[in-house]
Amino acid sequence: MSELRAEGLRLAYDNRVVVEDLDLLVPPGSISVIVGANACGKSTLLRAPARLLTPKAGTVHLDGRSVHAMPTRQVAKQLGILPQSPVAPDGLTVVDLVTRGRSPHQTWWRQWSAADEAAVNSALAATEMTELADRPVDELSGGQRQRAWIAMAVAQETPVLLLDEPTTFLDLAHQIDVLDLVVDLNRREGRTIVMVLHDLNQACRYADHVIAMKAGRIVAQGSPAEVVIPSIVEDVFDVRCQVTTDPVSGTPLVIPTGRHHSLTERQSEHSR
């Protein structure tokens, strides 16, 4: 099982430091979800192990080896990344896109082995994209398109998969679709998954491990029940809330309070 660990991480764009002195151990074989307010550095944190950003200080180790020192193809066999809203060239079919996921496993003389074909077919099946395999990606609906990209990452057959806001721009049904698919990948194939999610309640339901970030630091991490409590949510998202129990999953359910529309406010309006 692959172990992803970051130590003393400092991430910056030019001189603007986004993440400072951060340590993180991703629990192997589980789903970790990074949550936090906008611009807290959660997507940036995902970019470091994905080697989309070189740390100014600190290290990211995958099974004890630095991802920034290892040959990039070697890393790509063990760690897949799906960036936020990727764009495929117009006319590229789903199967062609998913086939690109095999490139770290290919050499110039071995471009399409039986193993490649099997991996692509099983990725298409896992994401329920087999029927749409010959359709151009740009003609699909938002949810189908996202599944096609996830299929590409699945075909890469990496033990660790990083997903940056995989539910952005999707309607509710497709969000749940994609998240259920992520759980399938984790349970059936034992992949370690780290993703950034915006919706705290979805994070609670789908994460084994929640990592809450604020201003480039990890404020709390642990099981949803440990992390998602009113005091931490208030600190991280700067919003007062109540936490109850999700009637479907039994995980924490966050209900923000806000200034208006509370029952006490309504009652006082009635009595006036």
Partner: protein, 345 residues
Amino acid sequence: MTAAVAVRVAGVSARVRPRVVGTALVLAAVAFLLFCLGMTIGDYPLSVGKVVAALFSQGDYYDRVVVYDWRMPRALCGLFVGLAFGMSGAIFQTITRNPLASPDVIGISSGATTAVVCGIVLGIGAGLGTQTLGLVGALGSALLIYVLAWQRGTTGYRIVLVGIGVSWACTSATSYLLAQAKLYEAQQIVGWMVGNLNDSTWAQATPLLIAMAVLVPLTIAMSGWLRALHLGDDVAIGLGTPVQVARLSLLIVGVGLVAFGTAAAGPVAFVALAAPQIAKRVAGTPVPPLFTSGITGAVVLLGSDLLARELMPDTQLPVGVVTGVLGAPFLLWLLARANRAGSGG
């Protein structure tokens, strides 16, 4: 969309699209036909059969002399300049992810032109000849674009923007120098600037052939990087592509191709821009197919040169005039047709 077929022989495997391979073969046959047809034209008329016989060292001694010594340099220049421009266009359109990017748009051809005009008007490096000057100019402007576009690595977008700026700077410099030039110099410059094969001899063809023998295999070896870059930098890195190294290497071979092509024939308009887009539509691929783009470039250039000589046998019409006149409406037609079918871009 074209289906792909798995081909696996003794550990070697490939995913082959019959339509792409078929298109490449047909275009290669057309290019060879045009290559031979071009060598039939001249004061000493030859049939296609005689040209082909001469190519394989058969037939009349005089035919062989005419073919090898007089006519082949022009045909070879047409073939390889077209190949170079077509492949280079495919590279630039891929690394910038922009179908309108081509070496003539992003300032590499204009850099070559400025260097040549500098040489002729100001006498800078006059001993070097237009070929070397064109080469130096193309490489110089490419280096300038890369350095100016560098900001924690390069992105395709910045290369296009900076390239357009460099292109305009070079064009202004060229115009200024032209205004200073003497009449006979201006004539010489304009003849070169349009791009033509009229003066092609072995002196132009030999360095071009040597350069292509190195650059074409190198480019094809890098086609895997091109495939990954189509998906954008982040996805390409995730798939294990060394993006900065890949882009710089592709930029170098792309510039090399266009530099040696321009040195041999001048900045022939439109070929690098149009050939990859034509190839993409004919082969039915979502992105410009590298080698097919090259062959398409050769067909366009050889065909245009043939047309120029057939239509106006008495005037020495530069091939660049024909590629401009033909290429523009053809590309517009392709775009209009593709948009109606709902697959534009």
